[in-house]
Structures are given as structure tokens and as C-alpha cells.
């Protein structure tokens, strides 16, 4: 774990919502679901009350931290908490995953983005790849509530990395797990399982796919020949998350869209995934530098 001192601040029992402009967001619970994947419940009453499936928040762990977009996995409006499922990837998510119940983080803002479009499509397949399963989960719940026959396919590299199996079973009419190494469930990729379902003659009306870009791109190609409506949730680089920076623009049907306000969900058959993957690589070397703490730049003489 990184050497990291979380900010500690007493949170009064009764919080006057207008009392301070330096809000601290307390972590109520923090448990590992799998190696490097953590489930965090965080106090954020306004967001807990308003959020809908498919929406996200931006958070900052510390006062010098990045703004990180994370999809909301669930909420408890009574308790005033939201649930995030976080894979430790870069510096910020690793810092976040190092925190325990009782710690606080600097900022949580949301809910952002346009909620998932939910209706009774008929048979809906929800596909999650890796930690994408956590993002697909709330939409799967909403699809079920809308009366769909819900099939879930959740993929992981191996058995140890499978998350939310119980939750997905509860919300699914049919639940499948795939692992790349065959250590659990179907041996293969989520695309293969989906193809198998299509080949078996099942009528599929709607597919939601959330996971790594190559997975979402591959799913789009599986469903395209059959004209199955397919939706993906995109994860471009963002700064503010409210429409201001334009960093998260994606090419959809040859038009520029802002994932933070127009998305994050888009028609998979219209998304330019290559452009998204390219644009997400812009800060690769900086991210590495930041995570490893190896740099000695400091060329700007901010000797204030």
C-alpha cells in the first residue's frame, strides 16, 4: 500500500448542509470484493437521494488530488450513502482503496451524466467485464424493475476476480459468469457467451455492455449484424465532469458528444471506439510517473 495519510476531521452528528464550504465525505464502510477491487460506502446525502442508474460522480481523495469519475454502483437514500466499486488502477484509485471506514475524502460531486434509458425492452442482456460488472449492476436492477427478462453475463480474468456474483444472481433471470482462464463458469470471453445465446435462437432485444474498451467494441461487433440495440457506458478522461472542459468528447455517429453531459451511455453501434482508446492514452506516461512517484521535474519555479 502507498504511504498515505488520509485527512481526518470530526464530522458533527447533525450536519448543517450550509455550514461549510470544505465538505468532507466520510467513508462508512470499505471492504475488498476481490484483489484490488474495493466496495466503498460514502456519505453523500444529496447524491444518494437523486442518483439514477447509469450516473456517475467525480471525487477527489485529497486536497491536491485529481478529479476522478466513478459510476455509482448503488445508494441508500435513508442512510444518505452511495456505493462505489473501485479498482485500484492509478494513483488516485489506489489511494482511495487504501482508505478504511471512518476516513474521509475531500470531495464527491454528482450525480452526473444522463441516467440510463430504461424501459421494458423484452429480453435484456447486461454484460460486465471486470470492474465494469459493478457499473452494469445498477442498470441491470433498473432493467429488472422495468419488467425485462434479464440475462447477465459477467466476465473476469479468473475466479478470484469475479465480483457481485450473489447480487447479479438475485437480479437476473439467467446469470452467467465467464473467465478467461476457465477457472470458473464459462471458459472464454463474454462475447463468446453472448454469441452462443444468439446462436441458440434466443430473441434478444437489448444489450448493455460495460467494461474495457476492446470488450465493448467486440460486443458491438457481435450484435451489429443482428441489429440488436446495444448500449455502452464510456470512460473517457474528464476534468470537471459537468460539461465545461470538453476533455471527455467522444465521436458518436461522426459527431462530437460530451460523455459527461450527453452520456456516459451511448449507442454502441455509433461509437468510434478507436478514437476513444487513442484519446485515453494521452497521459499514459504522466499517469505512470504519478503512480510511481518517480519524477523530479519541478521546472516551473513556483517559489511562492
Amino acid at each position: 500500500m502507498l504511504a498515505f495519510a488520509p485527512r481526518q476531521k470530526k464530522v458533527p452528528d447533525s450536519i448543517n448542509p450550509y455550514e461549510t464550504d470544505e465538505p468532507m465525505y466520510r467513508i462508512v464502510s470499505s471492504i475488498f470484493l476481490a484483489e484490488n477491487i474495493k466496495k466503498l460506502e460514502i456519505e453523500a446525502p444529496r447524491i444518494a437521494k437523486k442518483r439514477k442508474a447509469g450516473q456517475f460522480i467525480m471525487l477527489r481523495v485529497t486536497s491536491h488530488g485529481e478529479r476522478v469519475p466513478l459510476t455509482i454502483a448503488g445508494s441508500d437514500p435513508e442512510k444518505g450513502t452511495i456505493t462505489l466499486i473501485v479498482q485500484g488502477m492509478g494513483k488516485s484509485t489506489r489511494e482511495l482503496n487504501a482508505l478504511e471506514a471512518g476516513n474521509s475524502i475531500a470531495d464527491v460531486v454528482g450525480p452526473l451524466g444522463t441516467p440510463s434509458h430504461i424501459e421494458n425492452f423484452g429480453t435484456a442482456v447486461s454484460i460486465g467485464g471486470g470492474v465494469g460488472t459493478a457499473i452494469a449492476y445498477p442498470t441491470a436492477v433498473a432493467l429488472k424493475e422495468a419488467g425485462n427478462h434479464v440475462i447477465t453475463i459477467n466476465g473476469a480474468r479468473s475466479k478470484e476476480l469475479v465480483i457481485l456474483e450473489k447480487e447479479m444472481n438475485e437480479v437476473s433471470d439467467e446469470a452467467y459468469i465467464t473467465t478467461d482462464d476457465g477457472s470458473y463458469g464459462f471458459h472464454g470471453f463474454v462475447t463468446q457467451k453472448l454469441q452462443e445465446l444468439i446462436d441458440s435462437g434466443r430473441k434478444i432485444d437489448y444489450v448493455l455492455a460495460i467494461g474495457p474498451i476492446p470488450m465493448m467494441k467486440a460486443i458491438a461487433e457481435v450484435t451489429r449484424p443482428y441489429g440488436i440495440k446495444t448500449v455502452v457506458s464510456l470512460n473517457p478522461i474528464m476534468v470537471d465532469g459537468t460539461g465545461m472542459c470538453g476533455g471527455c468528447r467522444v465521436t458518436v455517429k461522426d459527431e462530437i458528444k460530451f460523455a459527461c453531459v450527453d452520456g456516459p451511455e451511448f449507442d454502441a453501434h455509433e461509437v468510434d471506439f478507436t478514437n476513444l482508446a487513442d484519446r485515453n492514452r494521452i497521459y499514459l506516461s504522466e499517469e505512470k510517473e504519478s503512480a510511481e512517484g518517480t519524477s523530479h521535474r519541478c521546472h516551473l519555479h513556483m517559489d511562492k
Binding site: 464550504d21 450525480p111 504519478s290
Partner: protein, 483 residues
Amino acid sequence: MDAQHITNKERLAIPRQPMPAQDPEVRNKNFREVNLGYTPELARQEALRCIQCKDPICIQGCPVNIKIDEFIKLVAEGDFLGAARKVKEDNVLPAVCGRVCPQEDQCEKACVIGKKHAPVAIGNLERFVADWEREHGEPDLPAIKAATGKKVAVIGSGPAGLSCANDLIRQGHRVVVFEALHELGGVLMYGVPEFRLPKEIVKTEIEGLKKMGVEFQTDVVVGRSVTIDELIEEEGFDAVFIGVGAGLPWFMGIPGENLVGVLAANEFLTRVNLMKAYDFPAGSDTPVFDCRGKNVAVFGGGNTAMDAVRTAKRLGAEHAYIVYRRSEAEMPARVEEIHHAKEEGIEFLLLMNPLEFLGNDRHWLTGVKCIKMELGEPDESGRRRPVPVEGSEFILPLDMAVISIGNGSNPLIKQTTPDIEVSKRDTIIVDINTMATSKENVYAGGDIVTGGATVILAMGAGRTAAKAIHDKLMGTAVNHNEW
């Protein structure tokens, strides 16, 4: 010379006092403030240039009608604190406005002396007194009237919201300001760079509002976290002021705009200013495009374009270009910013229009194809329309391109409060006398009404709205003398 015994002829003989500044070759490598500010001697000397007109038309040139003649007289007399308080009667952010207002188009344009000589440096003097008060003064809080029991929500903590909050709190209303970002100040924090407006100054001015009792809540995106209807119906606000700015960057719509390395000025500046990416990775976790030794072009001719290109230069760009399709005369940026940019080694490619961004096989930007332009007949804006020169295409090699051609309106409020009427451009439609929107007890001002404009115009709109809100809430006629 003393302020009491000086003839107008003697006043007019004093030259306009230049603003001391960091050496260009030093400052284009750091983020410290460019202008160093007047010394007391320079300030008094400059103030003596004011002939104290009987009818000071400079005041009409100021969107918030600062009592310019009175404060300058106090400067000339050496009462700098008194001068600062006089300015603050009408302007809640004098240290900010003294730095970022386009004075040459406002107060200084109206200055009578300016007809034959250089106008009085009103902006430099405003900045001086505000800085003097901050550095030497006892915190002097204006009188706050007895509590009215009324509660007003201000959405956005930029210039419009802050000036509206200031006027309302003085009238005894409870004021809660909601900010979407994690820092207060809006464009003053994310947009205007440290070298033009140090963030500590913005924070100090906001601190003053907190001391007066204005409550602030960050991390609240009105429209998403809470709607305007919920603020009124569930949280009991009697009125709402919308000052959310123009937040949605425009792109040019030319091929290659989505290549890696093409950014909106908002993104580039937000990374550097708000997220402090100039201090990456030591003091900030947010990276910015590594400009060191690179070719960077900023497309546009406004203040934001100047801010972006000068930021790129400070981040180590080998070549930092402004690419603008008209000539320098048509540039909307402040004259001082253009002048400073040139001093710092910014290369101006004027009368050039980009046609297409070019990339490599990894889809990273490698250059831009431009065409030369010439000025034709005036267009609807009164500026001469640029016309392409046939066959003049050329390629400018680039590593980063920053688009700075303006901002549209964020659609969030429109989407979530359909009973607020908006224009075709998605700006909010208001009655310009009261800033009232089509929705009962909801007012709006600043860039969300006008489209991208200036700090001081937004502040003027905030004041107008505050007057109208007070009047509406108290059921009284507006008494302008009280404000």
C-alpha cells in the same frame, strides 16, 4: 506636489505612470504575477493626474459605477484605506477587477484626459488600493442590515454570483452560494491564470464575503445534485439567482479535431489553474500535456486565448503561437494581454484560418493545415470579414492545439428547469432592468445571459439582480441611493 494645491495644467503635465512588471524573459518561465503593482509614490503621482471633473463620465463607463473621482482623490491625498473602502462601496472584487477589467473599453475610455493625453490609469489605481487594503488594512466589514428572514440561493460562485451575494447579504438576507466545482470563484479560479490573477487574491476576496455571513456550498451541481424547484419548494429559498457562466466550449468543426493533442482552452486552463497541473507531479496529481520543447498553437484572439498561449509558453513550449483568422485590430483580448504576450515571445500568426488538423498513425496531432486570409467588407459584428486567399494553404507543424473560440451555455439548467425561457443560443432570457427570468422569483445574470463576456459585466448583472430580488422580497420600491 500636494493634492490640494495643484493646477490642472500641472496635473496634465504628469505622464501616465507605467505599471512595473516582471522582465518578460524571466516571467515567461514562471507562474508568478506579471504586473508588480504601483508603489505608493507611483499611485499618488498617477492619482494627481485626475482633474476631478464636475461630471465624472468615467463612472458611467464602469458597469458597477465605482465612485472613481472620489476614490482617486483619496489616493492623491494618501488615504489609501479610505480609497479602498470607497471602491468597495460599489465593487466587491476590486483586486480582481483592477487586474482583469478591460479598462481601455470602459472607465479609461470615458476619461476626459484621454482625449488629448493618456487616460488616468484607473484600473492600476483600483488594483493598488485593493492590494493596499489587503496588505495593510484592518478587515473592515460593511454594515449588515437586520435579518429579513428571507433566504436567497445563488447558483455559481463566479463574478456574477459573488457580487449578487454581496449586495443581498448587506441587505440582511440569508445567502447560500452553490458551486459545482470544489473551489469557489468560478472562472476566476479555473479560467484566469495565476500569472494574471493570483488565486490567493480571489480567496481573500471570497473570505471577506464569508465574514459578512455569506454561506458557501461546494460540490453542488444545481440541476443534478438539486434542482431549482427543489431549492424553492423543499429547501425554502425565497429567490434564486443563476450565475453559472458560459461553460460549454465550442469547437471549430473541422476534420481532425478529436485527435490526441487537441484540447479546448477550458480543459488546458482548468488543468493548470484549478488543478494546479503546473506543479505535477510534486504538488498536484493532475497532469497536463507536456509542452517542454514542443510546438503549441492556440486558436482564437480573446483573453482566454492569450491566457492559454502564455500558459503553454510557461510550461516550456518551444514555439507558442496564436492563430487568428482576423488581424490584431479585431482581437477581442485586452490590449495589455496582447502586449504582454508579444513581450513574452508569443508568435502571432494573424489572418490565418485552420482547415484541418493532421495526425500520425497513432492519431496524435502532428500539425494543422491553414489558409491565409485577407480582410474584406465589415460583417454584422462591424469587424471586417476575413476572406481566404486562394492557393495559400500551408502546414504548421504542431504537438498541441488549444481551441479558444468561445463558450456556449451549459444545458443543465435548461434541461432540468424547463419553465425558464432560453434563447436559440441557450442563453437565459431576462428582463434587463431586473434580470428576472420567465420563472417566478428566479433571476439570472452574467455569461449565462450574455454569452461569454467580462468579469465586470457579470458583476454589474449580479448587482442589478440583487436590487430586484431585494425589492421583490421586501415588497418595496427600489431605492437606488441605498445601494
